[in-house]
Symmetry: C2
Subunit: 275 residues, 2 copies
């Protein structure tokens, strides 16, 4: 018998992956959580029927969320990750020696628990002494914070379930208050093929709040369309004018200092979404 | 009843697309040809069980094959397309006013016939007076040509069936002879996630023949991994040092003059394949 996991990424298109076994399945307080072992991509975390991360291609998303803002900020000391309970973004954040503290606020403790169990190469970084893990509502955390963080990274699911309010303008206003005066934030903002309106809307909202707003992309095979967007809002530092001397060496599999700039060169149809 | 087209892109991973109907299916002299009408991507040409092109995302591949070499060459007059019977690359080639003649050598006349019938926005350009369509073996055509073309584009299927010999070093040697003294060629060279060895091998072969060898990528949602590579071999002109004044305006949906350079900034794991 062959088992295949099939995900409808839209009502009309999807991916399918041969699996060895289902490792865990549970309806948590917030969402449906599935951990499956696939043949092509290794262990795969699925939330509400959407691939969140896989052992094989996780490095793209996690590196690109973390390193673009962290190399843009001249001295990031305190970093907040909203969501990201699998720990992958935190792992990348810790590669920057300037970071003294990395706070993770994940609403669903089960994501952390099962990532530690089944995705140890991703979640292992959560044990680091510089990391403060809080199982809490990221939206509320942001609402209470003021002038506190150098860099904030929003590593949410797609705007379904608990993540809906993480795509609202009020949330970005809260992020602006939670950041220090030269702070910078990044959010994953879905794909430009099937979610054109979302990409446009977030960019337009962020642009009303932050003086510097930028969109960049990366290739993630298990995400819809294979092309993912990230939106940056920055109070002072522009990711496109980083001094080259600032790029210290870190070990990566996707991010390079050349890509740091090149990833902002958008395909024309994507550039048109944020005009 | 719901109909879905599912393609195993590897033995362990694939895509699935909801379809309205099968428009045509035929075993030609060379390959299995299917034309299906999908809901998400419009009409889709499938050869030997692999998506070749779709109405929705075809522009990426066709623009990126054509415009990167054509803007690199200072005065491309005679262009050869090997394969590409759907006509999409030819359509893009004709956007360059310097081009006096575009020769298409497609081995399978049925691909041309059914592309004209079911993909008219792609294949329509084949009727242009500057185009010379030849139903013939591209490998043999190259073997006979000498000092004839400014730019050659290899728009083949993956290395299965009739396309196998289009990935051999002898073919690239033939291309070098078929090109003029400042000629340039590009070939689609599959994806770097599931076909690592192929990407490495082609680059290494081309590098032994051409003084300038470059790899670039583009995002194509219906192709395996969503990330596609293209290999350039050039006798004289480097795509990375094109004078900015040379970029005349053309209408595109993916290619931009910024992407012309940015598409050569490779993810680290891809750059490692061609070291």
């Amino acid at each position: 018998m062959e088992l295949w996991y099939t995900e409808k990424q839209t009502e009309r298109f999807g991916i399918t992956a041969k699996i060895k076994q289902t490792l865990h399945t549970e309806q948590t307080e917030f969402q449906k959580l599935d951990m499956i072992e696939t043949e092509e991509f290794g262990n795969m975390l699925v939330l509400d029927g959407m691939v969140m991360t896989t052992e094989k291609d996780e490095f793209v998303y996690h590196e690109m969320v973390a390193h673009v803002p962290l190399f843009t900020h001249p001295n990031p000391k305190h970093v907040l990750v909203v969501g990201g309970g699998d720990g992958g973004v935190i792992r990348e954040v810790l590669k920057h020696p300037s970071v003294e503290k990395a706070t993770l606020v994940e609403i669903d403790g089960k994501v952390i628990e099962y990532s530690k169990k089944y995705l140890p190469t991703i979640a292992g970084a959560l044990e680091d002494s510089r990391v403060d893990v809080q199982v809490d509502d990221g939206f509320m955390h942001i609402a209470k914070a003021e002038n506190q963080y150098d860099v904030i990274m929003v590593d949410s699911t797609e705007p379904v379930g608990p993540a809906v309010k993480l795509f609202e303008k009020g949330f970005y206003e809260g992020i602006s208050r939670a950041l220090k005066e030269d702070g910078i934030f990044v959010a994953q903002t879905d794909n430009p093929w099937f979610q054109k309106e979302l990409v446009s809307k977030v960019h337009s909202d962020v642009k009303e709040i932050f003086p510097i707003t930028r969109l960049y992309t990366a290739n993630i095979p298990t995400y819809p369309s294979g092309l993912w967007t990230f939106t940056i809002g920055s109070k002072k530092h522009d990711p496109l004018t980083v001094e080259k001397s600032r790029f210290h060496d870190i070990e990566t599999k996707y991010y390079t200092k050349e890509l740091h700039t090149a990833c902002f060169a958008l395909p024309k149809f994507v550039a048109d979404l944020i005009k």
